[in-house]
């Protein structure tokens, strides 16, 4: 590396030039390989390139270290930093293939996330049914409370002044032929948006999420009271249960995800606040993604199943079966992690 005292016409003057001449081929090959992976996939590489990739990556990384210490050519250092970063992400940061992520999600990720949220989920269930009971008692005592719980447009005539015949018809009559699919899809997208909100709003110390759960419960209780006061209690339970077990459960899980996030923000415990939020955020996001899937199932049950099945017992049976299925999947199924003793 000694600089010659009397430079000949071809000898490089500075280290950067010497260094570039010695290694530029390797860098360019690595760049070509990385660009190919980024543009297509790792599968498009030839065997030679695939084998050469780790070695080229390490060569370039050591080039970077050397360049930082011996060269003053900023363009060279910047180039090597960017090249090594790109190569790093293709080697270490590469994503798991989609199908493996999906199977992992259904096999362990989702049930484990929901299981670890059991306290928050239980809290949300208690909150929802507590609020429902409250609304039931309040409206039973004074029907005018109904209007402060459910906005007029949403009740669609199902308020305390409605006749029993009308209420019965809303439970069993089929809507306009041919629009079941649209109805189911609309319910699914609407409820999913609520589930995503329940998760995201948790960031504000879980307060909006708790309010969302309470309001959900109040509406449930108000609707139930209207039907129950006209002697349609068991009928409305069947009407609600066929999809409601899945839907209410999933909203409770989404709420639990939000509450977990809020608790991690407010009470990080032993971890730093950042670490605690990240750990909670990833669990909660997994549970929320699962809640959206549950809502798709609920949308099918509500939009299609409920409109075609008008037998109360059958409706309740389907609802109970769905609930037992979800409970078994989340809490009873042995998973890899529980085998490790967690």
């Amino acid at each position: 590396m000694n600089a010659p005292l009397t430079p000949t016409s071809d000898a490089p003057l500075v280290n950067a030039t010497r260094f570039r001449r010695a290694h530029e081929g390797d860098w360019e090959r690595l760049e070509a390989i990385v660009t190919r992976i980024e543009k297509r996939s790792i599968r498009s590489l030839s065997d030679d390139d695939l084998l050469a990739l780790p070695a080229l990556y390490r060569t370039s990384l050591s080039s970077l270290s050397v360049a930082r210490d011996t060269s003053l050519d900023r363009a060279l250092i910047t180039y090597l930093e960017r090249l090594c970063t790109r190569a790093y992400f293709q080697i270490y940061g590469v994503q798991t293939p989609v199908w493996r992520q999906l199977t992992g999600f259904f096999a362990t990720g989702w049930p484990n996330a929901v299981r670890s949220l059991w306290r928050e989920t239980l809290f949300c269930v208690v909150l929802t049914f507590g609020a429902a009971l409250l609304a039931y008692l309040l409206i039973g005592g004074d029907p005018s409370w109904f209007y402060s719980v459910i906005p007029e447009g949403m009740a669609e005539g199902r308020d305390p002044s409605a006749s029993a015949e009308f209420l019965r018809s809303t439970l069993y009559d089929k809507p306009k032929e041919g629009w079941l699919g649209v109805f189911a899809t609309f319910l699914f997208t609407h409820n999913s948006q609520i589930a995503i909100f329940a998760f995201a709003l948790g960031f504000a110390f879980a307060v909006p999420t708790v309010l969302l759960m309470l309001y959900n419960g109040l509406m449930l209780g108000a609707l139930f009271e209207v039907f129950a006061s006209k002697g349609l209690g068991p009928n409305v339970i069947g009407w609600l249960m066929i999809h409601g077990t899945t839907e209410i459960f999933s909203i409770c899980i989404a709420g639990a995800a939000g509450i977990r996030l809020g608790l991690a923000v407010a009470f990080p415990g032993q971890d730093s606040r950042m670490d605690s939020v990240v750990a909670a955020g990833r669990t909660a996001a997994t549970a929320m993604a699962g809640a959206v899937i549950m809502l798709a199932v609920a949308g099918l049950l509500e939009g299609v199943g409920r409109q075609t099945i008008t037998n109360d017992t059958l409706r309740m049976l389907i609802g109970s079966a769905a609930l037992i299925g979800w409970l078994a999947y989340f809490y009873a199924l042995p998973t890899r992690r529980s085998a490790l003793g967690e």
């Binding site: 010659p4 016409s9 500075v14 050519d73 992400f89 270490y92 699919g181 990833r282 996001a285």
Partner: protein, 288 residues
């Protein structure tokens, strides 16, 4: 596109690879993040319009052919398409191997996990679900109220304030983290693909200008690298100004070839400073 933007030192973060080398990642600046988001929003709207037009065309084609039930299928498709565009656009693209939405790719950004591990689906979904409360919630709330004509000034102020806190959140922390990044443990970093720029010095040509030692003692590494930028950009005004400044300072005669003079001075200064590096003397700038 943004690859020619200079490296901003305050946005560089230590990131040590398993091989023990610090990659000094460059975080995406708030401006580039915002532009990427705007591009994505425009693309989403364009995609939504295209979807709607395509479905309308299908609807008229189907009703012309007298197919029954087609309007229902089209309405279902539109609802699902809208849902996926709104909630899936960012997540689905970022879950791909590029870790970037089309907007981010155009600007030269990508999403990575802060701990350097793989970017998981849960992290991507988490960071994008937070967008709902950062932007969509206050905006749709405001939009609905404005459409109904009941948006009073208090509500508008509240919605703007709420959005403002989340929108400008990246400016309040040094890592330019969005609330979504905070929750998911992610970073948005620059992912430039610029090739290697040409070597400015080349061979030790004896025909070069030579400089007295005193002229080479004037500057340090910082000035050398600034000179490198000037030479690479080839802006005639800057070249003339810098050449004149150096000549005056070093008391050298003007030979009429500014660029040639600067190129030779750069080579000589670089060689001189490198000789210093060899013996452990790094001169960072002209003051040291």
């Amino acid at each position: 596109m943004a690859s020619s933007a200079p490296v901003i030192d305050s946005l560089r973060r230590t990131f040590i690879t398993p091989e023990g080398v610090d990659l000094k990642l460059e975080l995406g600046s708030a401006a580039s993040r915002a532009s990427a988001f705007l591009i994505d929003m425009i693309l989403i709207v364009v995609a939504l319009v295209a979807l709607t037009l395509a479905l309308l065309y299908l609807f008229y084609a189907a009703s012309g052919a007298g197919a029954s039930g087609s309007s229902e299928a089209i309405a279902v498709l539109w609802l699902i398409g809208f849902f996926i565009l709104r909630n899936g656009w960012f997540s689905l693209f970022e879950m791909g191997s590029r870790g970037a939405t089309p907007g981010k790719r155009l600007i030269g950004l990508r999403v990575i996990a802060r701990d350097g591990a793989r970017l998981t689906g849960a992290a991507v979904i988490g960071r994008n679900a937070m967008r709902e409360i950062e932007i969509f919630l206050p905006m749709s709330f405001l939009g609905a109220q404005a459409a109904a004509g009941v948006a009073d000034s208090f509500l508008i102020i509240f919605a703007l304030l709420w959005s403002g806190i989340f929108l400008f959140f990246p400016l309040f922390n040094r890592d330019r983290l969005r609330v979504g990044d905070l929750v998911a443990g992610t970073w948005v970093v620059r992912n430039d693909k610029e090739g290697l720029l040409a070597d400015l010095v080349g061979s030790a040509d004896p025909a070069r200008r030579t400089f007295p030692r005193a002229a080479l003692e004037l500057y340090g590494v910082y000035e050398l690298q600034t000179l490198e930028d000037v030479l690479r950009k080839e802006n005639p005004d800057a070249v003339a100004t810098v050449a004149q400044t150096i000549r005056t300072k070093a008391e050298l005669a003007d030979d009429g070839d500014d660029y040639g003079f600067l190129a030779d001075y750069y080579a000589a200064l670089c060689a001189h400073l490198e000789r210093g590096l060899m013996v452990g003397r790094r001169r960072d700038n002209k003051f040291s």
